[in-house]
Symmetry: D2
Subunit: 365 residues, 4 copies
């Protein structure tokens, strides 16, 4: 019987444990068995490790994964777009599956807020068969209903993992807030979501993009991706950043600010950077990081629009793969990914992400 | 020489002083001299009296006024809509005049954020001739460029003053956030802006409207205007109000919440009342009332859209007069106005508004 | 063995034939067997009878149906909104089922343009078991995946059939073109779609609604539903109708025109009734009724927005039932339905619709 | 006394006449006297020459002009954006002036449909002083209220004239129909409006752009501007073009089609190229070119949105200059302009535009 290794989170804030699970021999109709090629480490994985979101331990982490089809269940003959699927195809998939039946799937379509949504690498315990529901493993088992996408041949695996769930998150968020040709934009944050938002804003025709972030290697990437100005947050105060933005906008502020940080304090800072009638996207607050003193008067007086965006839909994954293929030269997401860690060093990979020592770390089992 | 009395704010938090000013004998081209019939007391006047917004004292307060044309300057022959104007016509006007030339008038059209905007009853000192720039007076002088509107004959003066700047503010705000046929709505507040927002939401086809407010005489009006449920804030806790809203919406929250209070604490309360993907309008925060602890995570997680709205444009004043004429029976705004005060008791009128003892007080000089 | 009668279209333009089919004894999981209470005759049925749309004859017509649950397949325990379902419940359902997998279900969400959409009373031949896929019958069989809705108790069956697929069609169309509070509207047509569009526009806050149509009994209903002005098309010319609309709008035309006729000639007429910057909804052109000379210059010069809308989604059926329950007094759709025909006179019912002798005919088996 | 030569249209379809007019010695407050550097010949000028739009002959043609300020009237100290203006500055200006008072300036803001709009080179007779209201002249006189813009130093005069009124027209039109990142687009036409629409769509993030047009030198420019595929209309049939578009879009059609031709027949062709739920912009129909057989069923069945757009506002002129400065390398609009004609050969320049022998001809007085 074949087995698969997997790096398991068994206890919050403890090292991941390398375990072996049987590789399922029969695949149920509509499901797929996939050999993992590269699994990205998302910032969310760090939050999960700290126990900041309740999950059904033990869990195999990993929701940003590229793999190769090993076996297909009956009836699964094409990917989400209708392209034929067969063993050996290199694929990516939406990390979540919707229930399709709840109030948010049906009545008020907000599919990312599906009440029954479950995500690989997050919502499934590995204690029951077929166990393999996370990317930090040799194999992953995709349940029926997973939105699978063949990866265009010319697109490197590293680019897909480098873009990870950051790019789909940004595509969804910017769809909600709108970045229009000629807009001036501030991106707060230069992590994966910040870089992806920069890329999407740039590709949407933004005229000027200012990135706040750090450390320097990430700001280098921001420059490479087309940021007009980068400001290192560790070398500037709130007042200095505001002064710079106002100086670049005749004292008015920018059309759109995109928050990609997740620290409450940046929200009041960012609202002040919008011109009157401007737009603010709260994109980085997936975790509950507590409160910040906030003055609602700024929303009324500056006549702002503020939007939040949660997760993404399969159509964003499809759009992301097209985006990556179309803009490979302009936005080389593969450069975010450092040298991959072997599976047995999954915990080191997680710590590399936690410490921001790379833009993005990854595991090649 | 004819004179006009006027109630003047000469010092913050001191009683208004009744003074006499010469009535101008010549009217410059495009201007108008108007005899005041009824001047509304806005909640903003109370804030001005406390000195919460800087204004060029001494100022004749009053920006919600109906009057009759006494004399027209050369060239002023029609109202803002093109209807002919002549002495004796009963009129209302937009309280602000835009510069028409700034960044917000031109480049990023946000006309209510005009950099040079000046408002009757607020921005003009009465120390220089022609002095009469506020509604708490026998006469008011309308400068060239004022957006003047003839009042339809069948529409009572009290209805126009009762709607005051609350209705135009609500029309603008709800234009920004959107209330669609079939929506469920919470209105936070039952003062003039709350009642006007209730009316506009109702007329936009809202299916269910819940009003939070008080005191009881205002909630009676809310019922009269078509609120489905009214909750007295003095007899309910934040948790009880939330429980009621969730109970009425299968546990999901409403489509739209409209904030018409101006107290920061109600904003976090209101955000929690939105369903996921819902909308929140910060409409009542004209004054700077300080900060409140706020968790940006709610915006991301619930995927909300939050909008602010400031002031209104002349087209909203035109729409408000049509709205009042069209919906007189359904929304009898005249019932907001108590027995008018004579001009010499202007300060009592102001205190009646400050103490919420009527929905709206007014001065009939 | 129980049998069900059904009125079958076996040959275009020939009388319907009353046939008997076995009532299925076993219901597959997720399906339902329903006893028909009232089946509406839609104008589309007349087009189908003429052979204007290709369908797989023989077909049991009828896609606007109210029935009572006779038996439920395994697993079908709640309606589309999650409310519990059991035998004896009075229900309505969306007439179409989407594939959920095609380009228009997934990538560019336009679910009403699903490539695999199939509709009761239209797309299913009755030659294969379980045969009963149309409303003109004693029983109808609802396949797994049908969006079923329990009907609120206080809502009469006749109101649901009277609103038929016209109301859901109007809800979808007006969602696309937008009718906002205060808008002036022309509705071209006073058939079921015209009356439903009038109702939806009215409930959305339209200030003035002008209906073009006939015969007089339908215009009476339009008046009853709140039309401000009705113009009988048989007693007016294109020029006269235009003159009336311009007279009512200071010569500018209305904000929105809704086409509910299906005759190409009305489109150029209607575009001329829009003010500059106005909106035009092509809602009645379900059938291909050929071409009309059309000048594209009008679109550019008047800066119009023109939209089409096809069919409806289950969420529109849900909204329609809520709309009917909420506005029963204002819009008594039951008044559209004449005295029901017995099933054996199904062909007379069809001809009554064809001849416009009632607003809507119906069959009570 | 100084004089200015001007090429005057005195009779439709007759050669332009070179006349002399006195250069005004006093400039009224708010006005400006400008020495013409380069005057573009717009396709509209050809229509005017044929008498297809009524204008008050005799008229000095020319509404796409760059000049240098010779003298400024009192009070004109800054351009439309607030930048200081002085003699010697190189400028461009919006060709139209709005009344600011009509129904379309105020109530239903559609400023491009202003009822009192007047345009340089079109609406002013040159028979009365100060005569010089068109660009085909040594000098042009700009009336008070003209929206004047200083041209950024690095931007060549030829680029501004090459973009002409085509770019502002496209910016306005695409603002109305929307081109979003990742969209597939067909541009019908490769004249100045077609090329400008291609540029704006490209800069808005369109993923794939197909241009229909000719002759070859214009399609070369389209390629240079980033068209993915160009199809010469003289070497292809309607069916072949449709086949190519469907082939490139899996048989579905594109997201957006932009009509930049002005020939009615292309509209039905273009509607068929849209995917279901797609968008169609009628941008080229400034002239009334008659009717075409059109089937409204396509709008309903394909659930399309069709929009028209007329002219542009000063904010589009401001945006166009920024666009040109920002994207100089990607979209070298100066390449549209052939070798300028001297003023005495203005009629030859007009004929060069009429015959499509250059993308755009121009006059350098």
């Amino acid at each position: 019987m074949k087995t698969s290794r997997a790096a398991v989170l068994t206890q919050y804030e403890a090292p991941l444990e390398l375990k072996e699970f049987p590789v399922p021999e029969t695949i149920e109709p509509g499901a797929a068995l996939v050999k993992v090629k590269l699994a990205g480490i998302c910032g969310t994985d760090v939050h999960l490790w700290h126990g900041q979101l309740p999950i059904p331990l033990p869990v195999i982490l990993g929701h940003e994964t590229v793999g190769v089809i090993e076996a297909l269940g009956e009836g699964l003959t094409s990917d989400w777009t209708g392209a034929p699927l067969s063993a050996g195809d290199r694929i990516n998939w939406s990390s979540s599956i919707n229930c399709g039946e709840c109030y948010y799937c049906r009545t008020k379509p907000q599919p990312t807020r599906c009440l029954g949504r479950k995500a690989y690498g997050i919502s499934y315990s590995c204690s029951a068969a077929p166990h393999l529901f996370g990317g930090y493993a040799d194999y992953i088992y995709l349940r029926p209903g997973t939105a699978i996408f063949k990866i265009p041949e010319q697109l490197p695996t590293e680019a897909v993992v480098g873009a990870g769930c950051a790019l789909v998150t940004s595509l969804h968020g910017i769809e909600r807030i709108g970045v229009h040709m000629g807009d001036t934009v501030v991106v707060q944050g230069s992590g994966p979501v910040g870089l992806a938002s920069l890329a999407v804003a740039k590709a949407s025709g933004a005229a000027t993009i200012i990135v706040f972030g750090g450390p320097p290697h990430r700001l280098e990437l921001a420059k490479r991706f087309g940021a007009d100005v980068c400001i290192d947050i560790s070398e500037s105060s709130v007042e200095e950043r505001k002064a710079k933005v106002l100086e670049m906008t005749n004292g008015f502020g920018v059309d759109v600010v995109i928050e990609c940080v997740g620290i409450p304090e940046v929200v009041p800072e960012g609202l002040e950077l919008c011109r009157d009638g401007g737009r603010y996207l709260v994109l980085g607050h997936y975790g509950n990081a507590g409160t910040v003193p906030f003055n609602p008067h700024v929303i009324t007086r500056k006549q702002l629009t503020v939007a939040g965006s949660w997760g993404f839909e399969p159509r964003h994954t499809q759009a992301a793969l097209k985006f990556l293929a179309r803009n490979r030269e302009q936005f080389p997401f593969e450069q975010l990914v450092g040298k991959p860690f072997p599976l047995e060093r999954a915990f080191d990979a997680l710590q590399a992400t936690a410490s921001w020592s790379t833009a993005k770390s990854a595991i090649a089992p």
